[in-house]
């Protein structure tokens, strides 16, 4: 009942808005998915970005579409919906976006770690996740180069991978070529236009653009766009580094990471966290992550982080010790204090919707985000309850 009310409330806000035309701020993967689903649903869509397509965090992440790392709850529901939608997208665009249903393997170093993994998996299964226990003796059948002595693992066949930049680019291309969307790169949003309370479009460095509704898909900069409309959406940067190896013959088959992360995924400490995450790509390179730090938008290379990433990856795959890292890059995950994204219409600024703050899962969650917003915009019942993601859920900060 509560759920129904929430949905009706969202729709009410929108029903007051003629939304045949939509302006999306941000050409990252989230903005691309919003544009794709909305244009497909018949809206007239314009996407603007101050830079290039995928020039933000989408161009600085990995492309994992994960259900394995999420505890039961709103985010897992979103991830499961997204996993299904990505499979549908892959049927048409799979090669273009380098979709691989490779599966994820979570390994535990210790017996308690393995026990924790099994407990999590039991909960996840109840929510619809497929998870298969892998005995210690079978680990090397799945990943021949894994270090000896691990306690066991869990295999998640629903985990998949795309190349995020290609995903954003091809979703936008499909939105444009098949469904008439327009894409304006190199256009910076500097304000919003309003009629009374209502948001009626945006101001840009190239002039005003009117729109029936505006979607804030500005990722880590989503808080700034919200502020332009006079509302608070706390999105902050959480830095992550990735190491990229030289191209290698296929060696690592799945996405492999360590179980011990689970307790820390929603940690609030500003300190550095790293956990070994290793995966091969179609190009032959191996990507090594992942680190998390709250250091603002500082791009300075951190040797401490790189050393830890390398050491942890070698601990999982000793064979990597003799492989060269040829590249490193960092990006700024858009995170909210409660580690959930912000998705849906903003009752404080009618005509404005948000699709930002996806932290370390924006690639994975993009499809569901776009799909749900398109449902809201066309007055359909959203497939999921959006209230956990509502933009006005954060306490106001006393000024």
């Amino acid at each position: 009942m509560v759920r129904g009310c929430a949905r009706r409330r969202q729709c009410d806000i929108l029903l007051r808005v003629p939304t045949r035309d939509l302006l999306v701020v941000g050409a990252g993967v989230v903005g691309a998915a919003c544009a794709y689903y909305a244009a497909k649903a018949g809206l007239t869509v314009t996407v603007v970005d101050r830079g290039a397509v995928a020039g933000g965090t989408t161009g600085a992440g990995e492309g994992n579409l994960l259900v394995s790392d999420k505890e039961p709850g709103a985010e897992l529901d979103l991830a499961l919906l997204s996993a299904r939608l990505w499979r549908d997208l892959a049927a048409e665009h799979g090669d273009e976006v380098e979709y691989e249903a490779k599966g994820g393997l979570v390994v535990a170093a210790t017996a308690p770690g393995m026990a924790g993994l099994e407990r999590l998996a039991a909960h996840q299964r109840a929510a619809g996740v497929r998870a298969e226990v892998v005995a210690a003796t079978d680990l090397r059948d799945l990943e021949p180069h894994l270090a000896p002595g691990l306690a066991g693992g869990m295999f998640y066949p629903q985990d998949a991978q795309v190349q995020p930049m290609l995903a954003a680019a091809h979703l936008l291309r499909a939105a444009r070529d098949r469904h008439g969307a327009r894409l304006w790169t190199g256009v910076t949003v500097t304000g919003v236009t309003r009629a009374g309370d209502r948001v009626t479009g945006v101001r840009t460095d190239r002039g005003d653009i009117a729109a029936g509704a505006v979607v804030n898909a500005a990722g880590t900069w989503g808080g700034e766009i919200a502020a332009l409309a006079g509302v608070r959406v706390p999105v902050l940067p959480r830095r992550g580094f990735i190491l990229v190896t030289e191209p290698l013959p296929p060696m690592i088959r799945h996405k492999v990471y360590a179980a011990e992360y689970v307790g820390d995924v929603a940690s609030d400490s500003a300190g550095l966290e790293t956990s070994p995450v290793v995966e091969g790509t179609k190009a032959g390179t191996v990507l090594i992550g992942a680190s998390r730090e709250r250091v603002g938008f500082d791009r300075t290379l951190s040797t401490v982080v790189l050393r830890r990433l390398a050491a942890q990856a070698i601990a999982l795959f000793p064979v990597l010790a003799d492989v060269a890292a040829i590249r490193t890059y960092c990006g700024f995950r858009p995170y909210c204090p409660d580690h959930l994204p912000v998705i849906g219409p903003d009752p404080r600024a009618p005509g404005l919707l948000h699709a930002c703050g996806h932290e370390g899962a924006g690639i994975g969650l993009a499809a569901a985000t776009g799909h749900l917003l398109a449902q809201v915009l066309t007055g359909a019942d959203p497939a999921l309850d959006l209230s956990p993601f509502r933009p006005d859920r954060f306490a106001e900060v006393p000024s």
């Binding site: 050409a27 290039a52 397509v53 995928a54 020039g55 161009g59 990995e62 994992n64 994960l66 394995s68 790392d69 170093a109 930049m165 290609l166 680019a169 936008l172 291309r173 894409l183 790169t185 190491l243 030289e246 191209p247 990471y257 360590a258 179980a259 011990e260 992360y261 307790g263 820390d264 995924v265 966290e273 790293t274 956990s275 070994p276 995450v277 190009a283 992550g289 992942a290 998390r292 290379l301 040797t303 790189l306 050393r307 830890r308 390398a310 050491a311 942890q312 601990a315 990597l320 010790a321 003799d322 492989v323 060269a324 890292a325 040829i326 590249r327 490193t328 890059y329 960092c330 370390g360």
Partner: protein, 497 residues
């Protein structure tokens, strides 16, 4: 290890800086990936923009002297020479720190550093003299075995892989083509021709006198004589616009070009050959200054270079640059800049003040003017983009054809070279854009109908890992001292992505 000055690169500029600073009493560490000092220039005959004839000779003599001086300073403990060490990152500390910079060193590529290798060096000041590498331009067939960069052909010569009787075509632009061709001819290769894309005489509106000097330089060094003796034709206003062959190059199409390098219709012919050497100038190696945030600019030859003031200071306090890092200009200029940088560092660190050398300043001004004239005469003209076909590879490592780059920019919203790289994968392979970065940036800008600017070139020059580094070396924390970082076995915290 902590020193007053760390010098990156042991070519002419770095050597001169190290020796000059050491002579004032500073303690210096000189780091270079190569086994011996000398850099690119002194690995093979003096070449490229070598300066007027006298200066070229002078440069050689000076190098020999520098090498001896280096040996002396090393013996006296004033210079620590770390050969075979690649700098993969330079960390800048706060300005209050006494030693502002930490250089992180590794071996080269996936080769483990030797047990005695130094992994970390701290220094109060930094001179970047990392030199430059070959700048080829793509054309259909340039990915065939047998097509080499001009510098690569010289390296092959040393390995005597080019055997007598082989037929080689040399092409590109710039005076560097001459020593390459002469070297090949002297080694017994049949050089079918040297094709200079520019018409240096005609384009030189100013500085004609200097250009005549450049001509004399070639004669003086004996290149022209060698070419003449071997009956090697030298043609200006021509370029290789395609290479042909199944498994290796078998022939090339050479075309006559207009002044923008667009092939003139009917001006084509095919020349049989089994090796090709092409060079269109050089790309300075800017990873470290770019990562440190040093201001850069686009030089007259189209390359991204570091901005320096009269004392070779970059925009970042404590960081100096000399040699090709500040603009491709040849060994004599590099030597001069290196000396000036060494003097400036000494003055800044309070070593007994070296007399500011008017002679060096004047020489630098003269050599820079000379280099600028050459850049003007031997500039890369935009028409080369017209040599490409959709299936011509732009990036050889990742096998990215021009069509895919074009699609990324035109169809997929990659409006700048960085995005074009990420979406097309040009510049994402082993060379990380060191070879294909310049053409990729130029082509992207061209598709966007503009000239490449600093941001465009930086998009493909930014490499936070300045050199490949073996993961095993990276994992070892030199500060911890042990082979296995204690963190290594501990999976730690944080999520998977």
């Amino acid at each position: 290890m902590t020193r007053d000055l760390a010098v990156i690169g042991a070519g002419p500029a770095g050597l001169a800086a190290a020796v000059t600073a050491a002579a004032t009493g500073l303690r210096v560490v000189l780091v270079d990936a190569g086994a011996r000092p000398g850099g690119q220039y002194f690995r093979h005959p003096p070449d490229t923009l070598a300066g007027p004839r006298g200066a070229a000779r002078h440069g050689w003599a000076e190098f020999a002297r520098l090498r001896d001086e280096l040996a002396g300073h090393v013996a006296a403990g004033r210079i620590t020479h770390l050969a075979g060490h690649a700098v993969w990152h330079v960390e800048a500390h706060s300005e209050e720190a006494d030693a502002r910079f930490t250089l992180h060193l590794g071996g080269t590529g996936s080769v483990a550093v030797s047990s005695g290798a130094v992994r970390e060096v701290r220094a109060r000041a930094l001179v970047i003299a990392a030199g430059a590498h070959d700048r080829p331009l793509p054309f259909p067939g340039w990915d065939l075995p047998g097509v080499l960069t001009a510098g690569g052909a010289q390296a092959l010569l040393k390995g005597s892989l080019v055997v007598a009787g082989r037929r080689v075509v040399v092409a590109g632009t710039g005076p560097f083509l001459l020593p390459v061709a002469a070297g090949l001819a002297s080694a017994g290769a049949r050089v079918e021709g040297v094709f200079e894309a520019n018409r240096p005489g005609r384009f030189a509106r100013h500085g004609a006198r200097v250009l005549r000097n450049a001509g004399k330089l070639a004669e003086g060094a004996g290149y022209a004589a060698v070419l003449l003796r071997h009956r090697v034709p030298y043609r200006v206003g021509h370029a290789i616009v395609a290479a042909h062959g199944d498994d290796a190059v078998e022939s090339v199409t050479v075309a006559r070009l207009d002044r923008d390098w667009t092939p003139v219709r009917g001006g084509e012919r095919v020349i049989e050959c089994d090796a090709v050497a092409v060079g269109y100038g050089f790309t300075p190696q800017l990873e470290i200054p770019v990562e440190l945030g040093c201001a850069t600019r686009v030089d007259a030859d189209g390359s991204l270079v570091v901005v320096v003031d009269a004392a070779q200071r970059t925009s970042v306090p404590g960081v100096y640059a000399a040699g090709e890092t500040t603009g491709v200009g040849g060994a004599p200029l590099a030597l001069t800049e290196g000396r000036l940088a060494g003097q400036a560092v000494a003055a800044a660190l309070g070593a007994p003040p070296a007399r500011p050398s008017r002679r060096l300043l004047a020489r630098r001004a003269r050599l820079r003017a000379f280099a600028a004239t050459l850049h003007d005469a031997y500039a890369v003209r935009p028409g080369w983009a017209g040599w490409l076909r959709p299936d011509t590879l732009v990036c050889r490592c990742e096998e990215v054809p021009y069509g895919r780059l074009d699609e990324a920019v035109r169809e997929l919203g990659a409006i700048d070279p960085r995005a074009a790289k990420l979406i097309s994968r040009a510049g994402m392979g082993w060379c990380q854009g060191r070879i294909c970065g310049y053409p990729t940036a130029c082509l992207t800008a061209r598709i966007r109908k503009r000239a490449p600017d600093v941001a465009d070139l930086t998009g493909l020059a930014r490499r936070p890992l300045a050199q490949p580094v073996r993961l095993g070396d990276l994992a070892e924390d030199p500060a911890a001292g042990g082979a296995e970082d204690a963190d290594g076995a501990d999976p730690g915290g944080g999520g998977p992505c």
